[in-house]
């Protein structure tokens, strides 16, 4: 197992950080979070053309850059730090991941190049209004017709579901339960029988949608009824990527808390000289560094095909979610009254932290998963 990033990976991180520092300042975050689509088309194109981020982990055969989970997670961590508003997680991590894990080779060749080039923005629809994260929550029905499939049902919490040009949907055949009978499909979001509604999200920097399918035409992706395993792998990679995004956000918060503790003066001293604040900052640093360790380790495990990856993914997700949320709450606390205002940027990260804490399962859920997977 590698515990240090290579020089090339450090350089890659620097390039991404500089780009995002330039193109995703909080003024831009605030502008984009007030738009319906929630991203800037020009920045998205640069992300794809200049940095090759959109296909960073997609094999070169399918038009990607051919790197792996470690580089993907570096990209995610930096986006989390800059709070980039872009359909990256939805299209490049979730949808591309689903295609990589579920689809046949010819389907990958057909679908992935457009995602890798940023031309197509796809979204993954798994979770339903019941809000259950396990496969038992999937109730949307896939029915075989004469010349294909149709889907009936309702998906929710679909990240960037309204702006996506392509939907990857997980549905089950009638009469199946749990992991059985699940399949992946591609659905044209503009087809008849597909109705998309934007959800009012607390975290305005990450858009979500409700999508209703009523005999919506769908194309099977991969093998029918064999969706559980690729779904699990897709969600593991997503959990690892999200964990890395979260530690990036947590680091940004910690930096801002420490900077403020250095300049804010009360009782004639910088508040960072009070142990009540200093010790809180030290604990925040420990929290963030431990969560980073778990997030980096899980990314490395995924890159090396370690059989423990599913358990490590759950551990990383739980650790990062808790650390991010605590860091966000403490950063507001250290800022005092001004930290609770709309004009102060802290709440932008706080809301991403809250949303990420719950997305794909809260820390309690992931800790239980982790124990089942690592210590069975």
């Amino acid at each position: 197992m590698e515990y240090a990033f290579t020089d090339e990976q450090d350089q890659f991180r620097d390039v991404v950080r500089r780009f995002l520092g330039d193109r995703s300042p909080t003024t831009e975050v605030r502008r984009l979070m007030d738009t319906a689509e929630g991203y800037d088309a020009a920045v998205w194109q640069q992300l794809a053309d200049d940095l090759a981020l959109t296909g960073i982990h997609i094999p070169e055969t399918y038009g990607g850059a051919g790197f792996g989970p470690v580089e993907l997670c570096i990209a995610m961590e930096e986006q989390g730090r800059a709070l980039l508003c872009a359909p990256y997680f939805s299209s490049c991590v979730l949808a591309a991941g689903a295609i990589l894990h579920a689809a046949e080779d010819d389907q990958k060749a057909n679908l992935l190049p457009a995602i890798a080039s940023g031309q197509t923005r796809a979204a993954l629809a798994v979770t339903e209004p019941n809000g259950r994260w396990s496969t038992s929550g999937i109730q949307a029905l896939a029915t075989r017709t004469g010349n294909g499939w149709v889907i009936d049902g309702e998906k929710s919490y679909v990240i960037d579901g309204c702006s996506a040009q392509q939907l990857i949907v997980v549905a089950r055949t009638a009469g199946s339960t749990g992991d059985a009978g699940l399949s992946f499909f591609t659905v044209d979001p503009d087809a008849t029988g597909v109705t998309r509604t934007a959800l009012a999200t607390m975290d305005a920097t990450r858009k979500q949608a409700k999508v209703v399918f009523s005999r919506a035409p769908a194309e099977l992706l991969g093998q029918p009824g064999a969706g559980a395993e690729p779904l699990s792998r897709t969600l593991d990679l997503a959990a690892i990527a999200l964990a890395n995004e979260m530690v990036g956000g947590a680091q940004a918060l910690l930096d801002s808390a420490v900077a403020y503790a250095n300049i804010r003066v009360q009782f004639g001293r910088a508040i960072g000289s009070f142990q009540a604040i200093k010790h809180k900052c030290a604990d925040m640093l420990l929290d963030v560094e431990l969560a980073k360790s778990a997030a980096y380790y899980a990314a490395q495990a995924a890159a090396e095909g370690d059989p423990q990856t599913p358990g490590l993914a759950a551990m990383a997700k739980a650790a990062a979610a808790d650390a991010y949320m605590r860091t966000a709450a403490n950063t507001i606390q250290i800022h005092g009254g001004i930290g609770f205002t709309w004009d102060n940027d802290t709440h932008l990260w706080f809301k991403r932290a809250k949303s990420s804490e719950v997305l794909f399962g809260d820390p309690t859920y992931h800790r239980e998963l982790m124990l089942q997977r690592l210590e069975a």
Partner: protein
């Protein structure tokens, strides 16, 4: 002359070991050869019983010791602290007198820093050293002194100037522990062990020239000792005597048993995370969803702490600047130990009230519960760790100090 390299050194020591190592000799005979040849402490200067080789060569040399089953020099624990400090700061006369006997193991050492009135605030020491015209006279008390009860010499920090600011009035001495003015008493801890001592000085004597460094510069010397206290020992360890037949091995076993005795409970102090899952499965707590959450939290903390240490080590190995991950291990370890103690209590239930043979695992569980509180105190409290992290890693401003000016005017414990 080419740069010394690992292969040359390995080749040379291999031949030397072949000619000199033999497990049937006495430990003292063997270590005399180590001191004479310089292979016991190859990274020490040639002049002082070493070979002047770079530290990076030690693993390759140690491999040769292990290959033939040779025992290493005696410089373990407090002896290492003594040797690094003396090598860096002591006069040639002191080096001449003590360094060789550290390698051979003829002398045992102890550290005499902490006092009842100054723990975290080490520079507040009030043990006094007064010069009577011919020698130093020592009065006061030290505490938490591992191995003091069988040490021949101590590393002593004592106050030599009460009018100077606190850090500038301390001096560093070597003291003969076997004299009438030095009384060593065991200090019994809340877990029942007595791994440390209290040392009382009543007109104890130190020769005029047994000062290490210069008068009133003891704080800087103490920093050298402390810097090595938490660092893993650097040297050629060779093999232990465990499970081997031969006179040198037998003597090494006895030596190790005495040296390791104070540390028997240290694994319990760290929380024994390794026992948790097996114990939970055995007691049935494994099926309790609340306990499972706490176990998962513990394993997450424990593994992440381990990975953080590996990140620091990996970065150091490839020459990257040290990141914050290298400064957080002690504080992380305290959190792990506390959570482990909590989880052991959840798993153990009513039996957590029992101790000794009535406690599970023949008392190990009870020993965990009553030893963990030491983790966040020994070697720097959590609070001091947070100050260090806040100030040195995060760059936050220091607390305004209220202990400037002449030491005698500063409020202190009575």
């Amino acid at each position: 002359m080419s740069e010394a390299n690992e292969n040359d050194a390995a080749f040379e020591v291999r031949a030397w070991l072949k000619a000199n190592w033999n497990p049937e000799q006495s430990l003292i005979d063997w270590r005399t050869k180590l001191a004479d040849s310089g292979w016991g402490m190859p990274h020490w200067p040639k002049q002082w019983h070493g070979r002047g080789l770079p530290v990076r060569m030690l693993p390759a040399i140690n491999d040769e010791f292990v290959a033939v089953g040779a025992v290493g020099a005696a410089a373990t624990g407090p002896r290492i602290l003594a040797s690094v400090t003396l090598l860096e700061h002591a006069s040639d006369a002191i080096k001449q007198r003590f360094l060789r006997r550290i390698i051979t193991g003829e002398d045992g050492w102890c550290q005499l820093f902490s006092e009842p009135g100054s723990g975290s605030d080490l520079a507040g020491a009030t043990t006094r050293a007064d010069f009577d015209g011919t020698q130093w006279v020592i009065n006061g008390q030290k505490v938490w002194n591992t191995s003091a009860h069988h040490a021949d010499y101590g590393l002593l920090v004592a106050r030599t100037d009460w009018d100077a600011p606190k850090h500038q009035g301390l001096s560093y001495f070597v003291i003969d522990m076997r004299q009438p003015g030095v009384q060593v008493l065991p200090l019994k801890q809340m877990n029942g062990h007595a791994s440390f001592n209290q040392v009382f000085f009543t007109d104890a004597k130190i020769p005029a020239d047994w000062i290490v460094g210069t008068k009133n510069n003891g704080w800087a010397v103490a920093m050298t000792t402390l810097a090595h206290e938490r660092r893993p020992a650097v040297g050629v360890a060779g093999v232990s005597g465990e499970g081997r037949t031969g006179r040198a091995y037998a003597e090494a076993r006895v030596e190790a048993e005495i040296a390791n005795e104070p540390y028997k409970w240290y694994p319990q102090r760290a929380g024994r995370v390794d026992l948790v899952v097996t114990r939970a499965k055995k007691t049935g707590a494994w099926n309790d969803p609340v306990v499972r959450q706490e176990i998962a939290r513990l394993l997450t903390m424990s593994r992440s702490t381990n990975w953080m240490a590996r990140r620091a080590a990996a970065a150091q190995r490839i020459g990257k600047p040290q990141g914050p991950e290298g400064s957080l291990g002690k504080l992380a370890g305290s959190n792990v130990a506390r959570q482990a103690s909590h989880v052991h209590t959840l798993i153990t239930g009513a039996e957590s009230m029992l101790t000794g043979h009535d406690s599970p695992l023949d008392g190990i569980i009870a020993e965990i519960l009553v030893s963990v509180p030491a983790t966040s105190i020994a070697g720097g409290t959590d609070e001091i760790q947070r100050n260090i992290i806040g100030e040195r890693v995060l760059g936050l401003p220091k607390d305004p100090r209220s202990d400037a000016g002449p030491f005698r005017d500063i409020p202190r414990n009575v």
